[in-house]
Subunit: 384 residues, 2 copies
């Protein structure tokens, strides 16, 4: 009487975690110096000092029983208000406190919104390459995920492909820019064309199509590259942000989602989101961490280190003959195979023939790995 | 295309939270001194010193980027191992690291296990009075919750009623002792009879029936009252614990569930639980808080304060003529109506005619409220 689909999913595991665990095991056998672990997107740079300043202030000024009490399921009102104010100030859209729900990172947003938007039988769509959990959520809660291809090598939007991929049961489009796994930032022109296409298709299908903007990497861009704020070009957008990557607190699980005030069927979607969050049973986001994170909104860890890693890795690998997509943001490099060990293969991201290299590691790991990449390039005879 | 059942649930809200919010609003109007808020089960006693000792030690010895990195979805191996060791040492059942999953309190356990056990179409059963979210989870994920009555006034198990309430689609029995909302601790004799009944019914129905032991209040008992460890009398028990109440950290969301090694269909249930936790999208429990909490397993805040509150409140209310169930544990008093304001009505707990008074407040709130209780007793002419 146990749902066998759940059993199957539970047994199938997560390829990123599995390779990471294999790395840990190998490190015990061959020594840490001989394992180059580029698997997990977990920041190696410490959080900004402000995180600990706020923590100390809270711990010395708020009585512990009050500091650690339950938060409301959707977050403390003052935390939600600060998020709304920041969004309005930064992007010019008049979000109100009630438009913001504090969540355990963007993963909760995606899981909850997928259930909300697809539980009537709808489909999700996203652009390759993409983070594998999208597919998992869409299969768990709806009728699945459509993978829409992007332009070869540059991974920008391909509007013809998008028009072909849309169907009358498409309820949500997940957009992740800067992108995991490619580091690509989507350009304004393509996004504005997509918005026009979606407005047209909404009218044609007779129901709204929602963009879910999955943006944990928004603040990790390296050369002043514009990251388009999707709610400003498409009103049916639900914006999702996480503090995990920007201020190096992935394990503390704080993020939020914001509903544009003029979202179609606002109240139905908002109410359903609250129901789903309750049904997930995590009750609330860490009371302490949500109060800390909100005071750091807009800040980042010292990302010049990631930029240095990117420049070193991209420069060296392309010089060796590897083909990589130039990453403007996030901390991933998506490289065409030959496939070295200990990296996450691209077919997990809907894009066979590539591997993801997470360069949020210490520079020393990259420096140690480069000779191995070179040796591999020579073996595969791609070296210039 | 939005699931209207979800919309309805989202709009319906949570009666405890709603009354609590009403209290906050009234406090602004009539002054805090005239509001006696006994609604929310959030501890007013500070966490034990050990919480902050461990926190300081972790923060000074583990580099921040490592301390706050992602935990595995089911918890750090060393945290799971410590939980297993504690359970074995304390209760004599040979739990292994792999039997333990770290969760966001027992709420996640209940939500996840309800989905796992009922998604094949099964029903849950629990004993009145009970915590309202059980019903919510059972309706969200399965075919609903059967409310089995207990003995009048004492709220102990009524085995005849239990035998009548069981049906062939009953897959899980949720047992919450010490009980929210009554504070009652279930006696060994009744539980052992129940275990015998369930073994019989399992054989009759041809499928396992699982007990989910919801035990956030296990360590909050006041007079050396025995709290039976259910896995020791019924092997198909999944044990759920939370640090929220025992060490006053409800907002930091740490608990765990433990599967008895000899559970029927162990691997199916365990795999499905992992799938469901992934589908909920909270990824992991706070990396910092799970490492802190596990070092405090078995400790409590200074519960002599709750005991003092209970003695004062129970003694005073019964002296005034109110009828209350004597609570051996937790920090709730379940009192027969007349219904004063600002308490949570018993029909939300499947038991009309009662109100729940959460006495995890400061003693001063109780002292201020007693004259109001007395006045009310006089109005209702129940005063002795």
């Amino acid at each position: 009487m146990i749902d066998q689909q759940l059993v199957k999913w539970g047994k199938s595991g997560n390829i990123i975690r599995e390779i990471a665990e294999y790395c840990d095991e190998q490190a015990k056998i061959v020594g840490e110096d001989h394992v180059y672990n580029f698997t997990i997107g977990s920041p190696s740079i410490d959080p900004p000092a402000r995180v600990f300043e706020v923590m100390n202030k809270l711990m010395s000024s708020v009585p512990p029983a009050r500091l650690h009490t339950y938060a409301p399921a959707i977050g403390f009102p003052e935390v939600r208000e600060k998020a709304a104010e920041y969004l309005e100030k930064t992007f010019g859209i008049p979000y109100r406190k009630q438009d913001v729900i504090i969540t355990c990172g963007t993963s909760t947003c995606l899981a909850a919104l997928t259930k909300v938007l697809l539980s009537g039988g709808g489909r999700a769509m996203t652009f390759t390459p993409y983070f594998m959990d999208y597919k998992y959520y869409a299969e768990a809660y709806g009728s699945g995920l459509t993978e829409c291809p992007t332009t070869p090598d540059t991974f920008q939007l391909d509007l013809e492909a998008a028009e072909k991929a849309l169907t009358s049961d498409t309820m949500m489009i997940i957009i992740n820019s800067p992108n995991n796994p490619s580091g690509v930032v989507l350009k304004r022109e393509g996004l504005e064309e997509l918005a026009r296409l979606l407005y047209k298709k909404q009218a044609e299908y007779g129901h709204p199509i929602y963009i879910v903007a999955d943006e944990p990497y928004r603040d990790l861009v390296y050369d002043g590259q514009e990251v388009v704020f999707l709610p400003s070009i498409y009103k049916n957008t639900i914006y999702c942000y996480s503090f995990s990557k920007s201020i190096s607190l992935p394990g503390e699980r704080v993020g939020f989602m914001a509903f544009t005030p003029e979202l179609d069927d606002y109240f139905d979607i908002y109410s359903a989101a609250i129901a789903v969050i309750r049904a997930f049973g995590y009750i609330c986001v860490s009371s302490m961490w949500q109060r800390i994170c909100i005071e750091c909104l807009g800040e980042t860890s010292d990302i010049s280190i990631y930029k240095g890693n990117r420049d070193l890795l991209y420069g060296s690998l392309t010089e060796m003959g590897y083909q990589c997509v130039y990453p403007d943001g996030a901390f991933y490099l998506f490289m065409k195979t030959p496939e070295p060990d200990a990296m996450v293969p691209g077919d997990s991201f809907g894009t066979p023939g590539y591997v993801r290299i997470a360069y949020c590691v210490s520079r020393e790991v990259i420096e140690r790995a480069l000779p191995v990449f070179r040796k591999l390039a020579e073996e595969y005879r791609i070296a210039r």
